[in-house]
Subunit: 184 residues, 2 copies
């Protein structure tokens, strides 16, 4: 099972790193035998907004071979919306892939036609753009409508857990969450 995280230069750190950690726990906790998390970009390294360099492990087109997929957020998403070379990599099918996006990553999903007449969330300042791209913006931390979207960085855990639940079931998602949830 392959899960891809789509990044690009100036990606928002936590939008990538939080799901990255949670998704990898499926493997690290021994909850799935063939679980692999891939970092998707066409360039060798991407530089985060806060200045960390992350190596990609697969090109963008590998998204089409992933069972789970998460589009990260960042300042560059506005340019990527109009980048036909970038967009043409993705031939996605939400009926067989668990597809998610955080914050402005939702705009990329919309540009790919995956949010047409679907409810979705992003940060409020991007609601108007999301609407222009055919989606129905919802003010919520997490929205599931065939694909899943989440708003504001600390909601990224919900997307990672949604992908895990879709691909591995509820009990695996719960075990991952139990390993990180604040102690009570």
């Amino acid at each position: 099972m392959n899960v891809g995280l789509v990044i690009f230069d100036q990606f928002t750190d936590i939008d990538f790193f939080l799901p990255w950690d949670l998704l990898n726990r499926v493997r690290l906790l021994g909850l799935s035998k063939d679980w692999k998390v891939e970092i998707l970009a066409d360039q060798k390294n991407c530089l985060s907004a806060a200045g960390l360099e992350v190596k990609s492990t697969k090109p963008y087109s590998f998204a089409n071979e992933c069972q789970g997929l998460l589009f990260c957020s960042g300042q560059k998403t506005r340019a990527l919306l109009k980048d036909q070379i970038f967009l043409s990599n993705f031939k996605l099918d939400p009926s067989v892939q668990a597809i998610a996006a955080i914050d402005s990553g939702a705009l990329i999903l919309a540009a790919l036609g995956l949010l047409k007449n679907r409810k979705a969330t992003t940060y409020p300042s991007a609601f108007e753009t999301l609407k222009e791209l055919g989606a129905e913006p919802m003010r919520a931390a997490f929205v599931e409508d065939t694909v899943a979207t989440a708003a504001q960085c600390l909601s990224g855990d919900k997307l990672a857990l949604w992908i895990i639940e879709r691909l591995c079931g509820q009990s695996v998602a719960e075990r991952v969450f139990n390993s990180v949830k604040p102690l009570v």
Copy 2:
């Protein structure tokens, strides 16, 4: 103002990356003029538990020049507790430094004598070791007793915000939190 994040090989990803993102927002949001987040390790690169390579920016001894400091967690902490060369780098003073630790990072604080008769938290399986090292374990997500400790990875935001509040004040910490808190 320097804030240091102490890492080592096999560090738990989110214990570093979540505070890393939040702490850097002070600079990225333009909330402090001289704010710098440093990654402290004596080796050039550290490999995270999930397999990401992170470059250090300063040696461990730079911790003594930091106004804020956070010890990350990971499997290697048990060995570091007995590593006198590692421990001898740190000459810390919680009366003038905002010092924090997540999960098993608390054991390092204890080994440095910073939790003697102080309340602290970590993940429950490390409570016994924390007690043996002189601390008073508390079952809580966040504990402040001169230094700050937090239990289970998704509590890392509380430590980053505590450091920011101590060094820059409550309104700056609130602005950082507002930029990431799940949309309601």
